[in-house]
């Protein structure tokens, strides 16, 4: 089945001369959760804005479910819902009015039952008559989501959806995103909270300085680029790493009580077993050991460091 969203050779240079995107190509599969990661100013929001029709691109093509975003903009845009980064709502409109406005704007006939369901799902039903200006930050964020969902989109862009949102609400939003995915909605999210991408995404794309530097299945990425770390709590402190263990590039903590051994996930011979044998041979005894995988965040930081 063809991709739901296909971005091909898209570039954007602003009137100031700043190039925000350089020949970006990306395919988003139907029904997946795709996390687009990148530092501030990397081009995430520009890319989303181009796909949604908010910013004109300088070159390249974009299709949504086969519809060109320019030639067939009505069909393309009807399929997309956007929750932007900033809380931008007409402050003087009521929750009910503004969500129905969004539905009408996208050409959908009035459907009070559906709008009620969206508001109830987002715990906004009690506030339906409240003006947007009276809502808390978290509620405004949910209202933005309700507006984006009001016309039943098939592709949902979430640009930093949980920025400034408390932990409980963040968990609720993650649950909502998973429910949407179960309903067949494709979700593309940008986030600063990489744990969010780690918890939710099927695939991850990394963008830096306007270029996509990596697109990978999240699990494969963590396996491929991730590192493992083994920490040993020693019975007695060491002054230095014993001679016979110098091949392992061990790190000794300043107090001499902990040895850390880092190795690649994919390495054929991580040497954990031989390290333990060599430790015994060198007379180093340990009380406890634990291992951990590197997080997506660490992978992300390492990727950006490798960029020239």
């Amino acid at each position: 089945m063809p991709s739901i969203l296909s971005i091909s050779g898209v570039s954007k240079t602003y009137a100031t001369g700043f190039t925000a995107l350089k020949e970006v190509s990306l395919d988003i599969e139907r029904g997946e959760i795709f996390a687009l990661l990148g530092p501030n100013g990397a081009g995430k929001t520009t890319l989303i804005s181009i796909v949604c029709g908010i910013v004109n691109r300088s070159s390249g093509t974009v299709t949504v479910d086969g519809h060109d975003i320019n030639k067939d903009y009505r069909a393309a845009r009807s399929l997309i819902g956007l929750v932007p980064q900033e809380l931008t709502i007409d402050a003087f409109e009521s929750v009910w009015a503004t969500v129905n406005y969004s539905r009408g704007l996208f050409g959908r006939p009035a459907n009070p039952a559906f709008v009620e369901k969206v508001l109830r799902d987002l715990s906004l039903w009690d506030k339906k008559d409240a003006k947007a200006i009276t809502l808390s930050g978290g509620m405004k964020r949910r209202l933005m989501i309700a507006k984006a969902l009001s016309h039943e989109p098939r592709v949902l862009f979430l640009d930093e959806p949980t920025a400034g949102v408390d932990v409980e609400l963040r968990q609720d939003m993650w649950a909502m995103v998973r429910r949407l995915r179960e309903d067949g909605v494709t979700i593309i999210l940008t986030t600063h909270y990489i744990e969010e991408a780690e918890a939710m995404a099927d695939r991850v794309g990394v963008i830096n300085r306007g270029e996509i530097i990596l697109v990978e299945d999240k699990a494969e990425l963590m396996l491929k680029l991730g590192r493992k770390e083994m920490r040993l709590e020693l019975r007695a402190p060491l002054g230095s790493v014993p001679e016979g263990l110098s091949n392992y590039a061990l790190e000794l903590s300043p107090d001499g009580n902990q040895l850390t051994y880092t190795y690649d996930n994919q390495s054929d011979r991580p040497g954990v077993a031989s390290l333990i044998r060599d430790l015994e041979a060198a007379g180093v005894q340990f009380r406890d050991l634990d291992t951990k995988n590197s997080s997506l965040e660490e992978i992300f930081v390492n990727l950006l460091r490798q960029e020239p």
């Binding site: 004109n56 009505r74 009408g104």
Partner: protein, 259 residues
Amino acid sequence: MNPRAAMNLRAVWAIYRVEMARAFRTVLQSIISPVISTSLYFVVFGSAIGSRITEIDGISYGAFIVPGLIMLSLLTQSISNASFAIYFPKFVGSIYELLSAPVSYLEIVIAYVGGAATKSIILGLIILATASLFVPLHIEHPFWMLAFLILTAVTFSLFGFIIGIWAKSFEQLQLVPLLIVTPLTFLGGSFYSIHMLPGIWKTITLFNPVVYLISGFRWSFYGKADVSVGISLGMTLVFLAVCIAIVAWIFRTGYRLRN
């Protein structure tokens, strides 16, 4: 929406309804305030000056200024309604929703300009009703009165829409109405006939487009005009065409919207 549909009429209606709702939400500012200022114009100009100038072209001074007063409000309110309507979402950032919706440029213009023009036409009719409380009114050409009212409201709402897109600040939003439109309206024969001006000023005044609007509108009331009604209508249509051309260019290039 049905992607094959020729027009997204639901979107036009959604925008139009929000614009009209704003007018009713701010009824004091939108309706009552212009009515009070018009009444004050009657007190100051109609009574104070009218006691010295009894008639112009055989029309009592109080009745003579009615078309000009309506035009004054129509022009300023059309511009401010439309400029604010499109500038406000730009200012708060909610314009993203409009730009990402399956809405054509034509639909956006119809909705915003339609909303702004409707409000100022309603206001014009309210001012007309208010004026009838002060002076006896007679409308010789009701069809043309309505035609001039609608044409002017639409033209200046388009002009306001352009200003709203061009403006980068609230100061710029007020700049053109305050520094250009209001002076042109006051100097456009709202309160006098241009035949009362000395020679050179009469010629200079003919470069003021508002003269033609007021003159044509006054003709629809009393059958008397400073300039021929055909020229008035022509000038209004020329200004309308210029505004349409600028709006078309704005949308084609994405000027200050999609850049």
